[in-house]
């Protein structure tokens, strides 16, 4: 009864004009699944941001050696662990040889003899209150050497020279580190060249008598050093260097490492190694996985059973431990160790996809029309697994970079002098507290790259997911 009432009567239909007027059309341009995914990917701000970062990174890696043609392996003893700088200027200063220093000292003795010779102390008198006086500079101080002289103190057996870095001026009473013990002489002097750097330094002298009693420290002497460099070192930086002139040093936009090598050049070199491992390992693993998983899925039966048994064991192996084992004992490079262990995931993925797909109607139809296994695989099965595989590879890349960095960090990286970002981190962390840039820059590169690939992978997965299609 209800069926008839629900059926429209012929009179209820109206005739529409044909072809339909444009306003009556309800069409959308037809898009393939890939076009659709691409459109949605472009709308994702995170994906676009990550992709641009990775693009910039590709330029950095490929064009880097051309734009920044500095040898990443060239050390410079004059510029160890330097903070990032662009075209710093230093004065070229003369380096004191022991002979010149000794000559200068004897000259002083004859030139400025003390105004009034202090009375000789009575025998048995202990070193009394007066501290060593008249602490002053001899000649012009520079970062290669600071020459000090002070008035001899009667009764002193030796003097200890202390030095404190400039900021210690704030903390009174801080003598700093003892530099040397100077034996008593009519004109005591000392030349300091121990790890001097530009900036203010504070010198003071304490006298001791033969019993080891100490006098109070002398009036501190403040020395302000400007950046300087020895002529020999300066010539390697700038061929025009002359003594006493200001020269511009080579720029190190990211500073230098503890061997004085340019960090930017090393980061570019490291990018080549880290990224080539990060990209090659997943891709090679994917191809092996495609072959093995494809065969297992396509042939099924015994082949499938055995392949799955093997992958079961591989999956159960602790990945990093075996990677360590392979590298330590067989000396396999990181790339090989990674590939040898990471083909399992793609293999299982491909097998699962193919098992799912091969029962579907379009594959059955193709088989009915006489398609062979190769045709089926290349024409129907693989193109339909491509989306899933693409997402898997995008997530495998940061994983590989991460793993390589981990292995390098614990000392299993590429052989020096080559360096990946992970080995740079490993080198940098030793001096992290004094020069953090050596660690932070490679760490930033690793984190940024892994972050971008992860974000891109997330976006790609969402874009390729048909369940999310049509939602914004």
């Amino acid at each position: 009864m209800s069926t008839t009432s629900n059926t429209p009567a012929p009179s209820e239909f109206e005739r529409l004009p044909w072809p339909r007027p444009p306003e009556a059309r309800r069409e959308r341009p037809s898009r393939s699944a890939w076009q659709d995914a691409w459109l949605r990917l472009k709308r994702d701000a995170w994906a676009v941001g990550s992709a641009s970062f990775l693009g910039a990174l590709a330029v950095f890696t490929l064009a880097g050696p051309l734009l920044w043609p500095i040898d990443p392996a060239a050390p410079s003893l004059a510029r160890l662990s330097e903070l990032p700088s662009l075209g710093r200027q230093v004065r070229v200063v003369a380096k004191d040889t022991p002979e010149t220093a000794a000559r200068a000292a004897t000259e002083t003795v004859s030139r400025d003899t003390p105004e009034t010779a202090p009375p000789a102390p009575a025998p048995g008198e202990t070193l009394a209150a007066p501290p060593p006086a008249h602490l002053r500079l001899l000649g012009a101080p520079n970062v290669l050497g600071v020459r000090l002289v002070w008035q001899a103190l009667p009764g002193a057996a030796s003097y200890t020279v202390y030095r404190a870095p400039g900021p210690a001026l704030l903390h009174a009473q801080a003598l700093g580190v003892p530099l040397a013990e100077v034996p008593a002489s009519p004109q005591p002097h000392y030349q300091d060249s121990f790890e001097l750097g530009p900036g203010p330094w504070l010198y003071s002298v304490v006298a001791q008598n033969s019993d080891g009693d100490e006098s109070p420290p002398s009036q501190p002497l403040k020395v302000d050093l400007e950046p300087g460099m020895a002529l020999g070192d300066a010539l390697s930086e700038n061929a025009e260097a002359r003594l006493g002139e200001l020269i511009s040093l080579k720029a190190h936009p990211m500073g230098t490492d503890s061997f004085g090598r340019d960090l930017l050049a090393r980061l570019i070199q490291g990018a080549r190694i880290s990224l080539s491992i990060g990209l090659l390992a997943p891709l090679l693993a994917l191809f092996i996985g495609l072959g093995v998983g494809g065969a297992a899925g396509l042939f099924g039966g015994k082949v499938d059973l055995w392949v799955m048994r093997v992958t079961d064991v591989f999956l159960a192996l602790p990945f990093l431990l075996v990677a360590i084992l392979l590298q330590v004992t067989l000396g396999l490079p990181p790339l090989t160790a990674l590939v040898a262990l990471s083909w399992v995931g793609p293999a299982r993925l491909v097998r699962g996809q193919i098992l799912q797909l091969r029962e579907q109607e379009f594959v059955q139809a193709s088989r009915l029309l006489g398609a062979g296994p190769v045709h089926l695989l290349l024409q129907h099965l693989l193109p339909n697994t491509l989306g899933v595989l693409l997402v898997a590879v995008t997530f495998a890349i940061p994983q590989a970079i991460f793993t390589e960095a981990f292995l390098s960090f614990i000392g299993l990286g590429v052989e020096p002098p080559a360096a990946s970002w992970g080995t740079l981190c490993n080198d940098g962390i030793r001096t992290f507290l004094t020069s953090p840039h050596e660690f932070l820059f490679p760490a930033l590169f690793i984190s940024g790259t892994v972050l971008s690939f992860n974000l891109l992978g997330d976006a790609l997965r969402d874009a390729l997911d048909p369940k999310l299609r049509g939602r914004s």
């Binding site: 079961d312 064991v313 999956l315 159960a316 192996l317 602790p318 990093l320 431990l321 075996v322 360590i324 084992l325 330590v328 004992t329 067989l330 940061p398 991460f402 960095a405 981990f406 960090f409 614990i410 000392g411 299993l412 981190c425 962390i429 992290f432 507290l433 953090p436 660690f439 760490a443 690793i446 984190s447 892994v450 972050l451 992860n454 974000l455 997330d458």
Partner: protein, 317 residues
């Protein structure tokens, strides 16, 4: 129960097989290393050397040696360190593993509670600021290597300690409970991020299930719905991941213990790698490997018991 028993046997067999493969790989590796294992013995007479060879079964063909190796292994004997004479690998494990285990346990519990809490909050507040912040945190947590987090945290805290003159949070060493806080946090972060993401997506799937709607229709309080109906079901995937996350916390320990100067087994392992102390590397690999395989197995079996719906066949990880 029969199904569970079959699954149990299958998993056990796979676990034993895995350890066996690992041990065999280790033995092969040990024999591929160039060099003479007795070279470190000084002033050898031919007689002494022969007796040593006999003692270590080095005069036997490789297959027989392999048999002895497996026999030693089954008794838990891993040999003697190359670089520290007279120190057995077993002693190293006994001395240093408890430290790593304490740290690892703390990290795992931090990661699990943090992940479940943060994941639940972000799923319940989906699309809001908290959720977005959590998602960013998660992606950051899985993208920044733990040695970077460790070093930066160390720098920041030591700077802070210097400024304020406090020493409540030491940045290295081992001893009091305070020493465990920073390394445990660093160790937990990556895993915590992953578990947060897992918890969030699994709770999102549960939130709109029919039984949740029914519970709401019955007038149950939101808290009761959350704890009894949603959390209980959503937490299961997080539990499965606990097995693998024990592995990631263990290997993470290699780095964290080195950075924080903690006398754990992980730091020892890294030192052995850097000094090429082969017996220690191989012994610890087998030890860690068996430990991890056992843990994953235990977690998977527990999971099979906890979730009655699970079809035990076909799950292999």
């Amino acid at each position: 129960m029969n199904g569970f028993f079959r699954y149990f046997l299958k998993r056990l067999a796979l676990g034993v097989l895995t350890v066996f493969v690992l041990a065999t790989a280790t033995f092969t590796a040990l024999h591929l290393i160039p060099g003479d294992p007795l070279l470190s013995e000084k002033e050898q007479t031919p007689e002494l050397r022969a007796s040593l060879m006999k003692q270590y079964h080095l005069d036997q063909p490789p297959l027989v040696q392999y048999g002895y190796f497996l026999k030693d292994l089954s008794r838990g004997e891993f040999g003697i360190s190359f670089t520290q004479p007279n120190r057995k690998v077993n002693d190293i494990i006994r001395d240093h593993f408890p430290v790593s285990a304490t740290l690892g346990l703390l990290a795992i519990s931090l990661a699990a509670t943090g992940g479940i809490l943060l994941g639940s909050f972000s799923a319940l507040r989906r699309g809001q600021a908290l959720d977005r912040a959590t998602l960013f945190w998660v992606i950051l947590g899985v993208s920044v290597p733990n040695f970077v987090i460790a070093a930066c945290l160390q720098l920041a805290i030591s700077e802070f300690n210097q400024k304020t003159g406090t020493e409540w949070l030491p940045v290295g060493g081992w001893g009091s409970f305070h020493h465990r806080i920073l390394p445990a946090i660093v160790l937990a972060l990556g895993t915590q991020a992953f578990l947060t993401r897992l918890m969030r997506s699994s709770l999102l799937e549960v939130v709109h299930q029919d039984y949740v709607r029914t519970a709401r229709a019955k007038g149950l309080s939101p808290l009761r719905i959350f704890f009894v109906h949603q959390l209980k079901n959503a937490v299961l995937p997080v539990l499965t991941y606990l097995g693998p996350s024990i592995a990631s916390v263990t290997t993470g320990g290699f780095v964290v213990e080195s950075v924080f100067a903690i006398p754990g087994l992980g730091r020892y392992f890294v030192q052995a790698i850097q000094q090429l102390d082969y017996t220690v590397i191989l012994g610890l690999t087998v030890f860690y490997g068996s430990f991890l395989v056992l843990m994953v197995l235990a977690v998977d079996l527990l999971y099979g018991l906890v979730d009655p719906r699970i079809s035990l066949e076909g799950r292999t990880r």
